[in-house]
């Protein structure tokens, strides 16, 4: 099958977490996945917009989904919160015809193509592990991670609520990060906290609590033997990676767990250059962990 998608990186990947977008594009190019830009797509609004303006939030999401539908492609993202927001809207717009009619009336009146409810919202991690032929993926892993112990951190918004996500994302056959880690030649680390909250959505309102969440999750992974952590989400990346050293000071514990987006580590295992993957933009230096498996 041809793997062509309407690509929705999300606001964080366009600015602060740009390296995740670079890595996603580089990896997709190697794997024969075509990512088509969505020039009209706005910010999804996250749960915040659902709180302030629930109907506007639904219409904004419908407009994004409609753009992908007009392109004739399923939508792919690399941000868990965008994934949850758009999946939630897609779920309701597909299952509640009355709601879809009401929202489409507003779209039409505003000069926007109505949304017919025909596309799927996917995470790039799911595309790589579920849709790319595992033999092709394995053949591209030219720098296998030789037993590197890797903690997969899922975060919340690619797993829950179960009602809107296909249950396979949560059950044993889900386990997308673990499957990818094995394909890359690494060893998935089991630890408590991999499906818990990174704290992103309270980073400004409850920052000490956010720091405590970062420390709890990272230390749990480290205590279980993790040398490195990967996430499928640019917001988790920002918190567990970029903010980790601030959390360290706040909770007065040394963490020092290198963290990166799954696409960055996948890129490294495929022999893509560190520059292209934006590795130098990581706050917690992964050099030592990578050098231990010959990826200096």
């Amino acid at each position: 099958m041809t793997l062509e998608f309407a690509y929705y990186p999300g606001c964080a990947a366009k600015q602060i977490q740009r390296e995740a977008d670079q890595a996603a594009r580089a990896v997709c190019q190697e794997l024969g996945i075509t990512l088509k830009n969505m020039p009209r797509a706005s910010c999804c609004g996250a749960v915040s917009l659902r709180e302030t303006k629930p109907a506007f939030a639904m219409a904004v999401a419908a407009r994004i989904l409609s753009e992908a539908e007009a392109m004739g492609k399923d939508l792919v993202t690399i941000c868990n919160t965008c994934l949850q927001t758009l999946t939630h809207a897609n779920y309701r717009l597909s299952n509640e015809p009355e709601l879809r009619d009401k929202i489409n009336a507003v779209l039409t009146e505003s000069g926007v193509r109505p949304y017919e409810g025909s596309i799927k919202v996917r995470h790039l991690l799911w595309v790589v592990t579920d849709l790319v032929d595992p033999r092709i993926l394995s053949s591209r892993i030219t720098k296998p991670l030789k037993g590197l112990r890797i903690a997969g951190f899922y975060g919340c918004h690619s797993l829950r609520p179960e009602e809107i996500f296909n249950h396979t994302t949560q059950q044993a056959e889900g386990r997308h990060l673990e499957r990818l880690i094995r394909l890359m030649g690494g060893v998935p680390v089991e630890y408590v906290g991999q499906d818990r909250c990174c704290g992103f959505h309270v980073m400004l309102s409850d920052k000490h609590e956010m720091h405590a969440m970062v420390a709890k999750n990272c230390l749990s992974a480290k205590d279980a033997g993790a040398q490195i952590m990967i996430t499928p989400c640019t917001l988790c990346d920002m918190i567990m990676g970029s903010v980790q050293q601030i959390a360290e000071k706040s909770v007065q514990r040394t963490i020092n767990l290198p963290e990166m987006n799954f696409a960055q580590l996948l890129g490294l295992s495929m022999g893509i250059s560190k520059d292209q993957l934006g590795i130098s933009r990581l706050h917690v230096d992964p050099t030592a962990a990578l050098a231990s498996v010959g990826l200096a």
Binding site: C11, A12, K14, Q15, I16, A41, S42, C43, G45, V47, S48, L49, R50, E51, T52, K53, P54, A55, F56, M58, A59, V60, R63, Q84, R92, L99, K102, I103, V106, L107, E109, S110, G111, V112, C156, H157, L159, R160, P161, V192, R196, C197, G199, H201, V202, L204, S205, D206, E209, M210, A212, M213, K216, S242, V243, I246, S280, R281, L282, H283
Partner: protein
């Protein structure tokens, strides 16, 4: 159904000196069909193998909420959980609820949980906002949350409660929504003001665990989202949470994209943002500086038209509870 042998690895907790609890894990073997409930098997163990094992139970019908414990990592009702659905290679790990003081074995002290429920005043109050008439659709919000059985599964899993024991928590907030949305309630605004304070509804981190673990489909986080909408609607916007939320529609209207450069300032105010200069500099060390120049998405005028249309003619998109009909 075939009978299998399951290993129950149960956390045994004994009260020690000065309130400290001593814990160890103890294994029990039980024979059961996969659709046997965990509660039945705990009773089998207590009756036939170890009378000292302590746990709470009462109705056996998922209506009293007494038997909520941690089963294979998640808080669930023992009476509603089939062993075959949670065993991993024949092993079931059982522990008390999280985020709660342990009394003995699987029994926890439920008082701190109920103190939070009592704090939101879980009863109708007379007051200026009491509706005289109650229409047939008046309960389409209330009925979302009335099926809560106070089992505390959500509270046990709540990631915010884990790091902030002062946080009101999902069950109490869902209960608060039940009264805020009840047409007969007389003090809705007062309630929203109270809930907008520190450690209240704005502290939810939206991890959505409460939605997935609730055995009665209450979806506490959805109730919290609706509380926030109503709180902002009453003008309670003077805190980081609501200010942050309000930034989104401003930006989407203006450019279509979130302006991360000004987001912190708008959320925390000038002085608050200055206190976070260290964080901004830390991010800047690795070139993580959001662009101060807004990027406009194509067709941004469509977004403005949508917004204006909805401001003129509001559309109700809130989920409605199914009508409660007698069985």
């Amino acid at each position: 159904m075939t009978v299998q042998t399951y290993t129950f690895r149960i956390q045994r907790n004994m009260p020690g000196q000065v309130g400290a609890v001593q814990s160890h894990w103890q294994d029990y073997q039980v024979e059961a069909e996969p659709n046997t409930t965990i509660l039945t098997l705990l009773e089998t163990i207590k009756g036939g193998q170890d009378g000292s094992l302590t746990f709470r139970q009462s109705c056996r019908s998922a209506i009293c909420g007494s038997c909520a414990i941690t089963i294979s990592g998640r808080t669930r009702l023992a009476c509603k959980t089939h062993v075959g659905a949670v065993a991993k290679d024949g092993l079931v790990e059982i522990a008390p609820q999280k985020n709660q003081p342990i009394l003995k074995d699987l029994a926890i002290d439920i008082r701190p949980f109920f103190a939070k429920v009592h704090a939101i005043k879980p009863y109708l109050q007379d007051g200026p906002e009491s509706a005289g008439k109650v229409t047939s659709t008046a309960y389409d919000q209330v009925n979302h949350v009335t099926q809560c059985i106070m089992c505390a599964c959500c509270y046990s899993e709540c990631t915010m409660t884990e790091v902030n024991p002062r946080y009101t928590g999902p069950a109490a907030l869902a209960k608060a929504f039940r009264f805020v949305s009840d047409p007969r309630e007389g003090r809705k605004t007062e309630r929203l003001q109270e809930l907008s304070k520190q450690d209240g509804m704005w502290s939810c981190a939206r991890c959505t665990l409460c939605v997935d673990v609730c055995p009665k489909e209450v979806a506490p986080m959805e109730a919290i989202i609706k509380l926030r909408t109503r709180g902002m609607g009453k003008g309670f916007t003077d805190a980081a949470g609501p200010r942050h939320a309000l930034a989104f529609h401003e930006d989407i209207n203006q450019t279509g994209q979130l302006n991360e450069f000004t987001l912190m300032m708008r959320t925390l105010g000038i002085f608050g943002a200055l206190k976070e200069t260290g964080m901004a500099l830390h991010l800047a060390k690795k070139g993580k500086i959001p662009s101060p120049f807004p990027h406009y998405v194509d067709g941004v005028e469509e977004l403005r038209r949508i917004y204006q249309s909805l401001e003129r003619t509001p559309v109700d998109v809130e989920t409605k509870a199914k009508e409660a009909v007698p069985e």
